[in-house]
Every structure is written in structure tokens, then in C-alpha cells.
């Protein structure tokens, strides 16, 4: 999964989102050990201090925890990850709804478009 960073928003908050996404999608599975700050920074091509800040924030939020001697791990708490998933889903849907209303659709139309497309994808 490549790191996608936009240039008009703080790097720090984008790193948090991207790591959350990686945890939700299982790139970093429950309870697994994260790569080191330096390796992550290099992978994302960002400043190590910025990566460190993002990881500290995720630790504060409880999604990561660090073990003093052996590194930083993903939480084993499934509920917590589900919460993050819901939060991310909500954000995506909000953006989507905003765009659709800008295009002039009302909510019923949007729902019917989604249902139709979902049906098609099932096939």
C-alpha cells in the first residue's frame, strides 16, 4: 500500500489517517509489531520527527502501544479497531454525500444509485 500524502494538509494528520487505514485493512494486523520509526519514515519519505509525532498520537489514542524494550505494537482490542473503522467509514461517506449533493442528487436518488451499483458489483 503506497503512502499518499497531499501537499495542502498537515503531514502529521495524514500519517495518522494512513496508519489507521493500514491497521483497519490488516496491513498491520492486530497485535503485530510495527516497523521502526526510521523505517516507516523512510517508507513514507517523511521526516522521522513527524512520523514519531503521528505514532505518539496513535499511542495516546490507544490504537498502538509500546513495549519499552521491544518496540511498538498494534492493539489487540478488536472493539477499538472497529471504532476506528466506523470513524473512517463515516468520514468517507460524508465526503461522498457532499459531492453527490453538489452534483444535485437528493438522498433518495443517491440511495438508489448505490443499491443499483451494489447489485451490479455482486454479479
Amino acid at each position: 500500500m503506497p503512502w499518499e500524502l497531499k501537499s495542502d494538509r498537515p503531514i502529521y494528520s495524514q500519517l495518522i489517517e494512513q496508519i489507521e487505514l493500514r491497521i483497519c485493512s490488516g496491513v498491520y494486523p492486530l497485535g503485530s509489531k510495527l516497523p521502526s520509526v526510521r523505517d516507516l519514515a523512510q517508507e513514507a519519505a517523511v521526516n522521522p520527527n513527524t512520523m514519531q509525532r503521528a505514532l505518539s498520537k496513535l499511542e495516546e489514542d490507544g490504537l498502538l502501544y509500546s513495549n519499552r524494550t521491544s518496540g511498538r505494537f498494534v492493539t489487540e482490542d478488536v472493539n477499538m479497531i472497529n471504532q476506528v473503522k466506523n470513524k473512517l467509514a463515516k468520514e468517507h461517506v460524508q465526503i461522498f454525500l457532499k459531492k453527490m449533493t453538489e452534483l444535485g442528487f437528493d438522498y433518495e436518488e443517491i440511495l438508489s444509485i448505490i443499491t443499483t451499483l451494489a447489485e451490479e458489483m455482486k454479479k
Binding site: L5, S7, D8, R9, P10, I11, Y12, R38, A41, Q42, A45, V46, N47, P48, N49, T50
Partner: protein
């Protein structure tokens, strides 16, 4: 001491031209700092002052508590804006020279980077393109285990692929106690790796902020802000 570089009211005057104007600046250890300004804003002059190639007209510069001189040269790895290496030498000769000159030079690292960039150590500098020469110089500078790196336009002449490798090299060689100061106007390429940016305009510092502060406060990239501040 937490600051690797301290400048107090540093001014440099050439004849009637003020190149660096009353610069006061503290740069802590362990940071990657971008010194950003348009052409002729005093970036190179400032870096030369820090490396004892020029003497300030007034004010004081301290690097790890010392004025620029022999002691500071031991801990500062400087990439000048132009090529100063002898054209007739082979890369391996120059590596030997650096090894003799600087006790913190890591020869293995230098050869490793040359290999990654497909540069033959047996080639003479004379036979190389401008971009390759620049790469060689940067490799030499980054192979020192210095406390302060001052890179004057390190990525100007190299292609985007090599630029990525160089930025990667800067990140992988980075250690928590070393500070890297990069002067450039190719901002969009490097802003992701910077902690702080210093905008310099007509010899004066006009802004010092972290990259994320700029993005948060203005909703713009450092590159776009630069274009605004220095609009011609």
C-alpha cells in the same frame, strides 16, 4: 547544549550591498531544516558565513558553542554550491582524500552509495556529467558522520529519480543528534522531509515555522506559500 547553531544579529555587507541582514536564528539538534529563498536572497552567503569562508561584518555565529573555524569544521559537513573537487582525480582518490581529512568519514558508506547510483569509483571526475559530479559530491558529504550538515542546493542538478534516492539517503543517514540544513528553491520535492522552514528574503529572515504549522494555518503547501511570499 540543545542548539547546534546559534546566530546573533549576523550581518554581512559587500561594498554597498547588504547580503545578510541582522539574522538571529537558533537551530536545535536533530532537525531537518529548509533554508528557502529566491535567487540572491543570501542563502549561500549565510551558509558560507557558517563555514568560515566569509567573516560576518557584525554579529556572532556559534556552532556547538564555537565560532566557525577549525573546531567547527570537524563537526560540520558542508556541500558547497559549486564543484570544488579536482577534475583529474578519480572518485576513489577523492574518497582517500576525504578519509585522510575527516576522522568522521565512513568510507564503506560512500562506496555503498556510489554503487547504488551506478557510479564507478575508478572514473575520473573529468569524464562525468554535471549531475553525476553533483551526486559524487553529495555522497562524500553525506558519508561523514557529522553533527551538522549544511547542504547548499543539493538537488538542483540531478534528475528526479536520483533526487528521490538522495532524499532517501538523507533520511536513512539521519540520526537524532545531527541536524541538516538544506538550502534550495526546489521546495515541493523536499518539504515532506523537513521539520522546519526558514524563509529568507533580501538577507532577512521573514518566517520560521514547522511545515505542519504552515499547512495547518494556511491550508497551503510550503511550496505554494513560498510562491505567494516571493511573488515577483
Amino acid at each position: 547544549m540543545s542548539n547546534i547553531l546559534t546566530c546573533r544579529n549576523v550581518t554581512k555587507v559587500f561594498g554597498s550591498k547588504v547580503a545578510v541582514n541582522d539574522v538571529t536564528l537558533d537551530i536545535p539538534r536533530g532537525k531537518i531544516v529548509g533554508l528557502l529563498g529566491p535567487n540572491a536572497s543570501g542563502k549561500s552567503t549565510f551558509i558560507k558565513l557558517c563555514n568560515d569562508l566569509l567573516t560576518p561584518t557584525s554579529g556572532e555565529i556559534l556552532i556547538d558553542g564555537n565560532r566557525p573555524g577549525i573546531e567547527t569544521k570537524k563537526i560540520v559537513s558542508y556541500l558547497p554550491e559549486r564543484n570544488y573537487l579536482n577534475d583529474w582525480m578519480k572518485v576513489s582518490d577523492i574518497i582517500g582524500l576525504f578519509r585522510d581529512f575527516y576522522s568522521d568519514f565512513n568510507e564503506e558508506k560512500a562506496y555503498d552509495m556510489l554503487k547504488k547510483l551506478n557510479i564507478n569509483p575508478k572514473d575520473k571526475l573529468k569524464t562525468m556529467s554535471k549531475g553525476t559530479k553533483e551526486k559524487v559530491q553529495l555522497i562524500l558529504v553525506m558519508s561523514r558522520e557529522a553533527q551538522l550538515y549544511m547542504l547548499d542546493e543539493p538537488i538542483g542538478g540531478v534528475d528526479p529519480a536520483a533526487r528521490d534516492y538522495i532524499l532517501d539517503t538523507i533520511l536513512s543517514n539521519y540520526n537524532e543528534n545531527a541536524t541538516i540544513i538544506i538550502s534550495t528553491h526546489l521546495i515541493s520535492d523536499i518539504e515532506k522531509i523537513l521539520d522546519e522552514v526558514v524563509f529568507i528574503k533580501e538577507g532577512k529572515i521573514v518566517l520560521t515555522k514547522t511545515v505542519d504549522e504552515i499547512r495547518e494555518e494556511t491550508g497551503k503547501s510550503v511550496d505554494s506559500l513560498f510562491r505567494e511570499v516571493f511573488k515577483c
